[in-house]
Amino acid sequence: MGNILAFCEFTDGVLRSSALSNIAFAREAATHHGGEVIIILVGAGAAAAGAAASKFAPKVITVEDPGLANYLAETYAPIVAREAKANNATVVTATATAVGKDLLPRVAALLDAGMASDIAKTTGKDTFIRPILAGNAYSTVQISTPIICVTPRQSEFEPAAELGSAGTVTASAAGAIDALGASFERLDAQKSDRPDLGDAKVVVSGGRGMKTGENFKVLEELADLLGAAMGASRAATDAGMVPADWQVGQTGKIVAPNLYFAVAISGAIQHLAGMKGSKTIVAINKNKDEPIFQVADYGLVADWEKAIPELITEIKKLKASR
């Protein structure tokens, strides 16, 4: 019997929606391991977020210290590894976000744990299904180390619901903090009122065919009309048309919204890897031979210059008619 230690990210006193997917996986793992889910919150504001987190698990551990104000793998990993051992965890999990992907392998190294990255499903105590080859195949792996580290993919696990009763919250001292000479300098954040790309219900993406960043304005208008997040292909981010963190693909974000618009995107396999789990895919491209049409549920062979303004008008009409 072993417990599941779930490293959860939080903002402004509440768990991030990506963390709720992690908890959903952790609950599944707990049924296989016979233990309970223990949430660990590390960093500035951890103590204040404890109450909100306790609605999701029987036990929450918070670790807060001025030395942990900014996330650093060097300082966070030893704390997570220590708490895993102290709490008899046989599985340590974090959502496969930028932080989770940076942190958890380092935790695994400290615990001599085998790791399954970016998993889509768990089929037992030590078996996990994960996409490989840019999502062109699914591999079932078995990990036989005493402790296993896992990063579940946010888009594959429905956010966990609150439990009927709140769990306990325990503050744990940080102990000695050593950043090994590394330091956080700054975050150049892309400020946006749109939903996170990772959990948006609708995503509007543009590609190389948009030609300039200025041209993305019309896609942003469409996105705002639909409450969508903005995305882009690598060609568009590499060309500097839009911020790098808009990139959808094998590297970049993996998304699975209800509705995905691929506008002026050719559909390279690396891009498809990031969006082909979307429920409904719309492709708009002037070239009917582009591979994007092979994964699209609805394809429109048209210039975006003409199609997108028309689409905005038609959606407005539809909304007005309801």
């Binding site: 650093l72 793998a73 060097e74 976000t97 930028a98 392998p105 935790v107 695994a108 190294a109 400290l110 085998g114 790791m115 399954a116 996409p131 490989i132 080859l133 840019a134 999502g135 062109n136 195949a137 591999s139 079932t140 078995q142 990990i143 180390t145 950043a179 090994l180 000479g181 590394a182 330091s183 956080f184 300098e185 700054r186 975050l187 150049d188 954040a189 892309q190 639909l226 981010t237 590499d238 790098a244 963190d245 590297t251 509705l259 396999i269 429920k279 895919i281 719309v282 009917k288 049409f293 549920d297 609805y298 394809g299 429109l300 062979v301 048209a302 028309e310 689409l311 038609e314 959606i315």
Partner: protein, 275 residues
């Protein structure tokens, strides 16, 4: 600067995945250097060059390490042809290794080579695991800067200022040497790597990693490549992570081409019910 670049060969991702006996059929596959690792070799070269006809900073050295079967020597030679100085080929098979074994072997190599920096791809494009760099840093007790999109070497060469692509923006992190850097796509941008030696006026092409020149290919044949075994580094050649089976995802149901925007909106509203 002495830089160690671990690289992996991967099946060419443009080939269509086929299954045989429950695993990916690699018979007759063509192989390439993992794209991110190729970018890591390019990054190491840019860190070690001085901008004059791609000449090197005195005393710099780039060592390529790879774990793989005998014929992985070909992809290792590609890295030497790009400009790396020498190579260590740990001859092994997939059955013997997983990320934990790879990390232990690299740790052994680092103990004897004592590099200033490890630069590697953030993930291999076949397994897509994105683990080895972070695990290696963790086991070594070294700092890590993963998903690097830019690197700037400090004037005193004792630290690096790394731009990391994270959710919601770019994070800048400073790490001392030695440390482990894993590189992302944009590290091969024209001005992504600044070593404080190459003049600001020098601009790299920005078209990805360099192709080996004919001269480089000829030179690579004479560059030293030593072979070793997993056990030479005190690691047990036994994988704790086993692939039980591989399946291909079901193909997406064929979509339809709609004639105009009005039809598209109607289908999205009435059939797909997503508007």
């Amino acid at each position: 600067m002495k830089i160690l670049v671990p690289v992996k060969r991967v099946p060419d991702p443009t080939q269509k995945a086929k299954i045989k006996d429950g695993h990916i059929d690699l018979a007759g596959a063509s192989w390439i250097v993992n794209t991110f690792d190729e970018y890591a070799v390019e990054t190491a070269l840019r860190l070690c060059e001085n901008g004059a006809e791609n000449a090197r900073i005195a005393g710099s050295e780039i060592i390529v390490v790879s774990l793989g079967p005998d014929d992985a020597a070909k992809e290792i030679r590609t890295c030497l042809a790009m400009g790396a100085d020498r190579a260590i080929h740990v001859v092994t098979t997939d059955e013997e290794i997983d990320s934990l074994v790879v990390v232990k072997v690299l740790q052994g190599i680092i103990a004897s080579e004592k590099p200033d920096l490890v630069v590697m791809g953030k993930q291999a494009v076949d397994g897509d695991a994105n683990q080895v760099g972070q695990m290696l840093a963790g086991r070594l007790g070294w700092p890590q800067a993963t998903f690097a999109a830019s690197i700037e070497v400090a004037v005193d060469k004792k630290s690096l200022f790394v731009g990391r692509e994270v959710d919601g923006g770019v994070e800048y992190k400073s790490v001392p040497v030695p440390s482990v850097i894993t590189v992302d796509l944009r590290i091969v941008g024209p001005k992504a790597v600044k070593n404080n030696v190459t003049p600001e006026t020098h601009v790299y092409s920005g078209e990805g990693a360099r192709l080996p020149s004919l001269k480089g290919i000829m030179a690579a044949k004479k560059k030293p490549m030593v072979t070793a075994k997993v056990a030479d580094y005190g690691a047990e050649p036994k994988a704790m992570i086993k692939e039980l089976s591989v399946t291909l995802p079901p193909p997406r149901a064929a979509g339809e081409i709609v004639p105009d925007v009005v039809t598209l909106v109607k289908k999205l509203a009435d059939v797909a019910k997503v508007l």
